[in-house]
Symmetry: C2
Subunit: 468 residues, 2 copies
Amino acid sequence: MDINSREHAKQQDEQDPLRHFRRQFIIPSQADLARKTLKHDTNHHNQNEESTYLCGNSLGLQPAHTRTYLERYLDTWASKGVYGHFKPIDDSNLAPWMNVDDDVVEDMAKIVGAKSSEVAIMQTLTMNLHLMMLAFFKPTKQRWKIILEGKAFPSDHYAVESQLRHHGLDVDESMILIEPPSKDNPILSTEHILSIIDEHASETALLLLPGVQFYTGQLFDMNSITAYAQSKGITVGWDLAHAVGNVPLQLHDWNVDFAVWCTYKYMNCGPGSIGGCFVHERHGRVSPRAVGADGEDPAEYRPRMAGWWGSSKSSRFAMTNRFEPIPGAAGFQISNPSVADITSVRASLDVFKQTSMEELRQKSLKLTQYLEDLLAGLTLEQENGSGACFSTITPADPAQRGAQLSVLLKPGLLDSVMDSLEEDGVVVDERRPDVIRIAPAPLYNSFMDVFNFVRAFRQACEKATAIS
Amino acid sequence: MDINSREHAKQQDEQDPLRHFRRQFIIPSQADLARKTLKHDTNHHNQNEESTYLCGNSLGLQPAHTRTYLERYLDTWASKGVYGHFKPIDDSNLAPWMNVDDDVVEDMAKIVGAKSSEVAIMQTLTMNLHLMMLAFFKPTKQRWKIILEGKAFPSDHYAVESQLRHHGLDVDESMILIEPPSKDNPILSTEHILSIIDEHASETALLLLPGVQFYTGQLFDMNSITAYAQSKGITVGWDLAHAVGNVPLQLHDWNVDFAVWCTYKYMNCGPGSIGGCFVHERHGRVSPRAVGADGEDPAEYRPRMAGWWGSSKSSRFAMTNRFEPIPGAAGFQISNPSVADITSVRASLDVFKQTSMEELRQKSLKLTQYLEDLLAGLTLEQENGSGACFSTITPADPAQRGAQLSVLLKPGLLDSVMDSLEEDGVVVDERRPDVIRIAPAPLYNSFMDVFNFVRAFRQACEKATAIS
Ligand SMILES: Cc1ncc(COP(=O)(O)O)c(C=O)c1O
Ligand SMILES: Cc1ncc(COP(=O)(O)O)c(C=O)c1O
């Protein structure tokens, strides 16, 4: 069957073993997106035609359960007040608030390939990055540099820059930015990354890279890069904003030192929702207190910014003020977490736990390949016509990308293309001046979504070229 | 009229100009608190008898609006997806998500007596404390000590301790703990505090105190203490967990350097909800970039841990990675904030903005005085009987306390007293081994609540003494 046909997309959806997950999400209708209100306007036709939402790399869609869970959270707060902290409730699947964080780590750990004790759900992505650097970046005269990408997400760049300043280091000479070898190609090969590591190996304290690059969609070889940098004595941290819930991860086995992520993209926990943090078990150990001649010596553990939520539960309400870190990532927690946010995390994980990252990846590879194939066809078509409007900057090798493809438009087309897509009820994400990012999320996107996108994109390109 | 009579309480409620606020909150019924489920059990009588909830110092009750607002937030996410970040919605009072933080600062600033630009709603209390210390605690050979209370809230203690270690300082000699002059009286007089400041003045970098002490309920003279410490060259920060929404504050006029707080106590935003942060305007200035011979020099501003949310909105999606701090407290933001949490903050502030902290304080003074008077009567009664069961440790001077009274029970009574209170549908908060804290929150508590508490407490004491 012609892969460019609607029937092909339909058939692929019918054969998709994960297709039922879409029904566990609320897909905005085209009318929803178009109107300026929340309320339904019953004069409109086609109210229920679903939009084509390919923007889970920016904000994941809402699981249908989330509302039920949040209402249950509100019911608990309303009817139990402070008792909600510790009294279990028979007809609620939500944990007492003092345990909400523990309640989600096991399922989150599966998603990032970690032991439960290596994961904490806490704070926000950049905040966790700071906390990790405060614990892991201890510059010395010998080793003081941090290597990151030249085109890191701004927040990571600022975080690293301010950490270097905090230690009184000169940013220009301490912040090693990996730039692509050629200006035309933003992809950073593993080889190239390793060569930069080599260049600065003996002076570098920390390597910080993204699992999946936000702009290009490149998936890095986390395993090899981690091993290589560590073999040179460098600590390795990963920003998994675009990787978590997108590609399978094996943080424990890869021996990653630390990682941080957010939950509002492929994890579908809502805008600004609470972040996540991985600390390898070898860094989270707490030695028992040694009893010496003068009484108890303090326990030994990796120094960190401390807060009561990282201290053992029994110590939290004691009046002794003795910090007793919980072993593992939980010992890096600072404050009692937002229960509203963790409730959304619970709702999301209850979808994820019905499948596995491996199954999701199988579907994702097909979906993104299908997107690439259709875009390749469109390029050919455009080249045979008035010229190609775009090129794909994401690696063609499926092993080097996650769900997202990033498309570089010819200059001047972006605004018109985005307007047309929006008119057609297609949501993707732009990066000015010229890039659009298309991310079919395997949990809720369909082959038909990809088909619809490419159809709308074809027209959008035609229109944009005509008026430019 | 006899102040010990139910009629007196009733009359006081009738005369209370703020009494209508109670209806804007969900008061758990006694049946709600007693059952182990969320669902109503229709076989029970007295289902609707309200509980006596005097625990707003630990977890504030839920404003009735909160559910409506959170549903609207969910509707926005469900029907607009990523467009929720920037598209205003005609029939929603909630700001587009990229502005939710700005949307709440003005009303929050009124509550803490600050300019809007001095307040940021961000992160969590202890996290903000760390961020503030990272920006304000710069120990030198001359000044390296931090003064705090010996009985600080554990999280503050741990935070300070870990900051000192982070700078390689010896905790024992750098962490100056203010202990009460006598073991029997945990109150710290201003005079005593100033004398400790004097003792360490020339070596102290930072003074950190609570606005209202969590255990004793003591309200500190923030204005005088701040001025005195600053006159000795010391930076002054306040933990306002128990002060915000409880007592009027004038952080700007008091010239406080920084302050941090949470929103789940008197602010009624739900368990673990997002925190707040005050940075005095003189510390938040950002000088314009100077244009020198070699092009633009970077802007000047107080060094801090940086993140994209502290950078100007126009820079956030630029690919230049140049940190351009927002002037004021907002420039200390790190990450995009939890929209669910800020939605709860919006709901709460929409209650607070119908009154003022001054009006609330007027009522609060009366409510707590009434509680004290009834407790004094009970003490007399007990002394004339089998002996007093408790004493009040909170200062008797209304100017030295907020809403809360802390009561020290005779040893061994706590468990029994708490059990009896719970049976009677009375919620207060315990601090082991022997303290209970009773906090009539002026927004939703009534004189009848106080009356009911004391009645139940009288019986609880009798029962506890009988069995002990
Ligand atoms: C006085 C005080 N400081 C700090 C905290 C810690 O708050 P968080 O867990 O939000 O950091 C609390 C919590 O109750 C508190 O009462
Ligand atoms: C790759 C990456 N890093 C960091 C961030 C910053 O996230 P937060 O605001 O949650 O700290 C983002 C946000 O989209 C991101 O995509």
